[in-house]
């Protein structure tokens, strides 16, 4: 029997050797200026939100320059766990991607230390600021502005004078959504109550659903969510409520979430407060290509440059007009939205 096992071991090792031996040496490649890759923050590139929007931006950048997904082109690395951040970044560095994006503030530590070890690679971090690194561009969004408009839309739509906010994890970034939303609601009608709830997670649709169900039962008829994957549950709760004859609305986040609100017989997505992570990724990749990568700088996107915005999904035209007029006021500076 020992012999059999030994033979089996030998066979396995041979297969292993063949695997190593055959195929071209894919680990080495020449770096070019025209390559960029991103590392996700835990959600996949199909999370219908943050990471997906970044990936779509990178894809469209790659396609517009006739690049292919893969080495010397554009690519992604997906993190299943926080411990994957650094290995993922380093794998992309080794594969000679010229610009590497960390999608989400959770990666700032990893981006910072990778930038220190690899001074010749461009790094960018979304939603956070990495200080004192000349090869890191920090990208932030004035999401309080788009959230303000979401607040206006909610205040114009509510019939019960009660609206809700569902956040993911309480952090500086999500707080800007909450603050902007509250200010937008108050600007229209200071008497409207805003109920703020946090799910404690960006990936728990079930928690989102139970929170939203409770809020709808409490007669809140518009909910703005800034909760990534948790927000999927908010949509489910709204659709269930609508199917039972009680029409409620959800305001989506990051991407146009109209498709998420569709059910047989209607749609619950009122509007979407978009944050164009994809545009930022595309811009920076283009700048890196022209040797103008804003390393060491903080790049801010706002309503004016279309880095954030609001999309009308199912608002009636008079509501949309009010929203647009507030949008104009923010753009020309007559309304200032406080991020806190």
């Amino acid at each position: 029997m020992k012999r059999k096992v030994l033979a089996f071991l030998a066979a396995t090792m041979m297969v292993g050797t063949i695997l190593v031996g055959c195929g071209n040496n894919s680990a080495t490649s020449k770096g070019t200026k025209h390559s960029a890759a991103l590392v996700t923050d835990g959600g996949g590139i199909d999370d219908k939100s943050f990471n997906q929007s970044a990936w779509e931006g990178l894809q469209s950048w790659g396609k517009s320059h006739n690049l292919k997904k893969g080495l010397n082109g554009y690519n992604y690395a997906q993190s299943n766990d926080d411990s994957d951040f650094l290995p993922n970044i380093n794998k992309l560095v080794k594969a000679k991607y010229a610009t590497i994006f960390g999608i989400g503030y959770k990666l700032d530590n990893a981006i910072g230390s990778a930038a220190k070890a690899n001074p010749d690679t461009n790094f960018a971090i979304i939603d956070s600021v990495v200080k004192n690194r000349k090869n890191v561009a920090s990208i932030t969004f004035k999401t309080e502005q788009s959230s303000f408009l979401a607040g206006v839309a909610a205040a114009e739509t509510t019939k019960t004078n009660k609206v809700g906010f569902v956040g993911g994890i309480q952090s500086d970034v999500i707080k800007t959504f909450e603050a902007g939303f509250k200010q937008g609601v108050k600007a229209v009608n200071p008497k409207i109550q805003v109920d703020v709830k946090y799910a404690g997670s960006f990936s728990k649709a079930d928690v989102g659903q139970s929170l939203a169900t409770a809020m709808f039962n409490n007669n809140e008829d518009v909910i703005f969510h800034a909760a990534g994957g948790t927000g999927a549950g908010v949509f489910t709760a709204a659709k269930n409520s609508a199917k039972n004859g009680k029409k409620v609305w959800v305001i989506g986040v990051d991407q146009d979430q109209k498709a998420d609100g569709a059910y047989e017989g209607g749609n619950v997505t009122l509007a979407s407060a978009v944050k164009k992570v994809g545009t930022a990724v595309k811009d920076l990749s283009n700048q890196a290509m022209k040797d103008k990568f804003p390393g060491g700088k903080v790049v801010t996107y706002d309503l004016k440059d279309n880095g954030v915005g609001i999309i009308n999904d199912n608002m009636p035209s008079d509501t949309w007009k009010v929203v647009q007029s507030y949008q104009q006021k923010i753009k020309d500076g007559s309304i200032k939205v406080d991020p806190k």
Binding site: V20, S26, D81, K91, N109, I169, K175, G200
Partner: protein, 360 residues
């Protein structure tokens, strides 16, 4: 004894092989090249000194959570609490290191690791005590304790450790890190750290515990038959509590080492750390043998770290690795089928002699 472990090894190898075949079939049916991908995986895990460093580092917590699961399992308990114990250990270590950062490095590290291990141990012992004295199912209690750990740690990190508005603690001081400059230099900036050697020492200790100590022997007898060992004079309740304590100590130590060696801080997490569950899979593949766990952890770690390379070097989604891992576990769990085949065909004679001689 010898042929028994050989049977275990051949079972494991067949399962691994079958898992890779399943992965290859899936890749082929979606039009991806399995040979190229497996090669990328291998290169990604062992291709250079950096990758080897990452693969070995990833092994540490897998080994420790797997050992933790194995110890409880030998005593007949299904400790699903690994993720929670790991998390509590990680948190306690970071909290200790941040609060006592004025201590010299050596004391800071030993104190931190001890703190993490003990916290994990106590967390697990709660389930042990409930089981021993009230007969509560440890499966239920450990699952529930996982969630208590997750939300408690999130609350504690947010309110006690993190700066306002942030959701992760500050980094620990450099002298408390297990990932020293020397190791970074020789592994080209990987996160490989001294914890690896601690894990190997712990493997030896657990092997010694089961094979050479009275308490370890008692643990195994309780696992085989509770009533019989009670009749033979074993203090069953105490043994249960000790087994669960050791189990939690190990998982907690895993979290502690990851905290000091890999993360250097702790953040609010969305979900329970997956390493706690992967540790169970590692232990199952190794048939709960401490030495086997080292190799099984190496395989899992290589799959995970190498798997990250798959989507970087080809168009194949890296999730394919999860399919391979799941398939391996599936084949391990249906090993009874293999055993039956093996028994009938090849090992008929050996089985007889083993039964006569080996029941030590």
């Amino acid at each position: 004894m010898l042929s028994k472990s050989f049977k275990g090894i051949s079972n494991a190898l067949i399962s691994i092989f079958a898992g890779f075949i399943v992965g290859a079939i899936v890749m082929l049916s979606f039009g991806y090249d399995p040979l190229q991908n497996y090669q990328n995986l291998l290169v990604g895990a062992f291709g250079d000194i950096y990758s080897i460093g990452e693969t070995l580092r990833n092994m540490i917590s897998l080994i420790l959570t797997a050992l933790g699961f194995a110890v409880a399992s030998k005593a007949g308990f299904f400790n699903i609490g690994g993720p929670g114990q790991y998390l509590v250990g990680w948190f306690s270590t970071i909290a200790f290191t941040l609060n006592f950062s004025h201590l010299p490095g050596f004391l800071l590290i030993t104190g931190g690791l001890l703190c993490g291990a003990v916290a994990g141990g106590i967390w697990s012992m709660i389930a042990g005590v409930l089981r021993a004295y009230f007969g509560t199912s440890e499966v239920i209690t450990t699952i529930m304790l996982n969630y208590i750990a997750l939300y408690f740690v999130n609350f504690a990190v947010k309110n006690w450790l993190a700066a306002k508005g942030s959701d992760s603690s500050p980094n620990i001081v450099r002298k408390a890190s297990l990932n020293t400059n020397f190791l970074q230099e020789i592994t080209h900036n990987s996160t490989f750290n001294w914890g690896f050697f601690i894990a190997l020492i712990v493997v030896a200790l657990i092997w010694f515990y089961f094979n050479k100590t009275r308490s370890g022997f008692e643990t195994k007898t309780v696992g085989l038959n509770e009533s019989a060992s009670k009749y033979a004079g074993v203090n069953v309740k105490r043994t249960i509590v000790i087994a669960m304590l050791i189990s939690g100590l190990l998982a907690g130590l895993g979290g502690a080492i990851d905290g000091l060696g890999n993360f250097q801080n702790i953040s609010v997490s969305n979900n329970l750390p997956s390493v706690g569950f992967n540790g169970m899979a590692v232990a199952l593949l190794a048939a709960e043998n401490p030495i086997g766990i080292v190799f099984s952890a190496l395989l899992f770690s290589a799959l995970q770290i190498g798997g990250l390379s798959i989507s970087v070097y080809s168009n194949t989604p890296s999730e394919i690795v999860d399919i391979v891992i799941a398939a391996i576990i599936f084949f391990v769990s249906i090993k009874y089928v293999f055993e039956l085949l093996l028994k009938k065909r090849w090992f008929a004679k050996k089985r007889v002699s083993e039964k006569e001689g080996a029941d030590k």
